[in-house]
């Protein structure tokens, strides 16, 4: 079977995000492979190492040139090859799923792994939309995964707790913290990765058009009061805080 694992290159969590005009500007921002997607790359490798019959693991990125770095990271971690659909057009997740679904079919993928909520667009939609386009089941927020013949089983988080599941393949799985600990690429693997295939592709043939326009972006931080109380006298500090919560903020009875 073939696994397709999706990656994005996103700002490092601690990096400053800035807005120019009415759009986010990533110029000069430190970018890294999205941590949520990295769990998917790692899981594909572990499924193979665990004995599942996996012919090909392909990392796929759709987006601007910077995504090449995320694909290089995935190759250095151990995926077999990479595909980069390079575009500066900012596609929404549902439009993007059109491209992913077509590539999954062309690549004969049986399992698609994608991060549960990426750190750039804060969306959880790509996995579900791709599953619907392919007519496949989906398992979201997965933190345990096994392949057993023609099906997968595992555990995932739901609204009020978690569930154990089993589902037929092919399927889409969205990944998250707890699934695994992603490995660091070793130097030999980084060297090896340079010889692996990174196929370039364009958006033209996929018929994907953005349906959601971003009309404005703002860094909105609520003005905070930053009233800091010295805790040297715990009794006095506690009483002062309680008084503020009750009488100034009016959030406690």
């Amino acid at each position: 079977m073939n696994i397709l694992t999706l990656v994005r290159q996103v700002p490092d969590a601690e990096a400053r995000v800035k807005v120019s005009g009415s759009a986010v500007d990533l110029e000069g921002t430190t970018l890294v492979i999205d941590g949520m997607d990295e769990y998917g790359v790692e899981e594909a490798l572990r499924l193979r190492e665990g004995g599942a019959n996996i012919e090909m693991i392909t990392a796929l990125a759709i987006g601007p040139k910077r995504n090449e770095d995320a694909l290089r990271t995935a190759l250095a971690m151990g995926v077999d090859r990479a595909i980069h659909v390079e575009t500066d057009e900012k596609l929404d997740a549902v439009s993007l799923s059109r491209v992913v679904a077509q590539i999954a079919q062309a690549e004969n993928a049986t399992l698609i792994l994608v991060g549960g909520q990426e750190a750039d667009w804060d969306s959880q939609a790509l996995g579900a939309a791709t599953a619907e386009r392919l007519g496949w089941p989906q398992l979201t927020w997965t933190n345990e995964l096994k392949i057993e013949g023609e099906s997968i089983s595992g555990r995932h988080d739901v609204d009020d707790g978690n569930e154990s599941f089993s589902a037929p393949l092919p399927a889409v799985v969205t990944t998250q913290q707890g699934l695994n600990e992603p490995r660091y690429p070793t130097l030999p693997n980084i060297m090896k990765a340079k010889r692996k295939e990174l196929r370039k592709d364009t958006l033209d043939t996929y018929g994907a058009a953005n349906t959601v326009r971003v009309v404005n972006a703002e860094i909105q931080t609520r003005a905070r009061m930053n009233r800091v109380i010295d805790g040297k006298d715990p009794q006095a500090a506690a009483e002062q805080l309680l008084d503020l919560l009750r009488n100034e903020a009016k959030v406690l009875a």
Binding site: V94, A129, E132, F165
Partner: protein, 320 residues
């Protein structure tokens, strides 16, 4: 019509559903507000729903006894199509954001995810949403005969029932649904029960970080304070990773997003991933002995001090 897929638990509409009703009422645009109630034995929910909507559509069937994304998406898409819905509102819960994209694909409709505001002008729907770990607020827009929107819990004041004013309750109709068989088998289920109020519904949340010191301290201080003031209990990723607390309590990018009136962070340093899950709280309180902790930058009230000393004093003072 403006179609709202009701979320309900234990035979009652959730607060998130009443928030969606308010969002639909205030958004502008045409058409009656319609609540779709899906499940098994949901008559009581449908009756309650009739107090909030002009019409209530009820899909009551054994096939809907348990939530499944493929089945829910099929039901919502069918009703949206038959009713020529201009707007389909789905809860921004984990399950809502799981099946809403499938509805969008089925209807070839644009999808605005996790909206914190909503306005409709003809066929154009505009919403705001957070991006980049909730550090950026984006205004997004889509134009189509039908637009699918998930509404972020906590973003709208819940709607009040209409019937108290003597207005007629919404009419109820049973609907026939063509549902696919669920392919995913649920082989086990662990509901993380708590006697406390659910995190996403809580007005006040007390959260503990590694700075609390130990699982025992977490129980004494975080749970102790929460119980004293009737709050929900949250935890940081570090605490969950260390195995002190269940994942269900985790607040942040990989956990729950919360927006309470007051968020009280005990021994929490304030990593960006954590702030993305709680940074929109109305009031943020930080208690931490490290005066340099980033959490103080986003706090309204802070105490620089040891949780072990401050919290017992706080619990004591709260009794008065």
């Amino acid at each position: 019509m403006k179609l709202i897929v009701a979320e309900h638990a234990s035979g009652k509409l959730t607060k998130a559903t009443l928030e969606m009703v308010a969002a639909a009422q205030n958004a502008g645009g045409e058409g009656p507000i319609t609540l779709l109630v899906l499940g098994q034995n949901v008559a009581a929910v449908a009756t309650e729903a009739a107090q909030y909507a002009e019409q209530v559509l009820v899909g009551d069937s054994a096939a809907l006894a348990a939530y499944n994304p493929e089945v829910w998406a099929a039901a919502a898409a069918q009703i949206a199509q038959e009713g020529e819905a201009s707007l389909v509102l789905i809860g921004g819960s984990r399950s809502g954001r799981e099946y809403a994209p499938r509805v969008a694909v089925k209807l070839d409709a644009p999808y605005l995810e996790d909206a914190t505001s909503l306005s409709v002008n003809g066929e154009t729907v505009q919403a705001q949403r957070y991006t980049y770990l909730a550090r950026v607020t984006e205004t997004v827009e889509a134009s189509a005969p039908t637009v699918i929107v998930t509404v972020k819990p906590g973003s709208f004041a819940p709607a009040a029932p209409a019937t108290s004013t003597g207005a007629a309750a919404g009419e109820q109709y049973d609907v026939e649904l063509e549902l696919p068989a669920a392919r995913t088998q649920i082989t086990g289920r662990s509901v993380e029960k708590t006697s406390r109020v659910a995190l996403t519904e809580a007005d006040v949340i007390v959260t503990g970080g590694r700075g609390v010191g130990s699982p025992d301290n977490f129980a004494t201080y975080v749970e102790g304070l929460a119980d004293r003031i009737g709050a929900g209990v949250g935890a940081t990723r570090a605490v969950v990773d260390a195995g002190w607390r269940p994942y269900a309590e985790q607040v942040g990018q990989t956990g729950k997003t919360v927006q309470p009136k007051a968020y009280i962070a005990l021994g929490v340093s304030g990593a960006v991933q954590h702030l993305s899950g709680m940074g929109k709280s109305k009031f943020i309180v930080a208690i931490n002995k490290d005066a340099e902790a980033p959490i103080f930058k986003v706090a309204d009230y802070g105490i620089v001090g040891d949780v072990n000393q401050i919290v017992p004093a706080l619990i004591e003072a709260a009794k008065k």
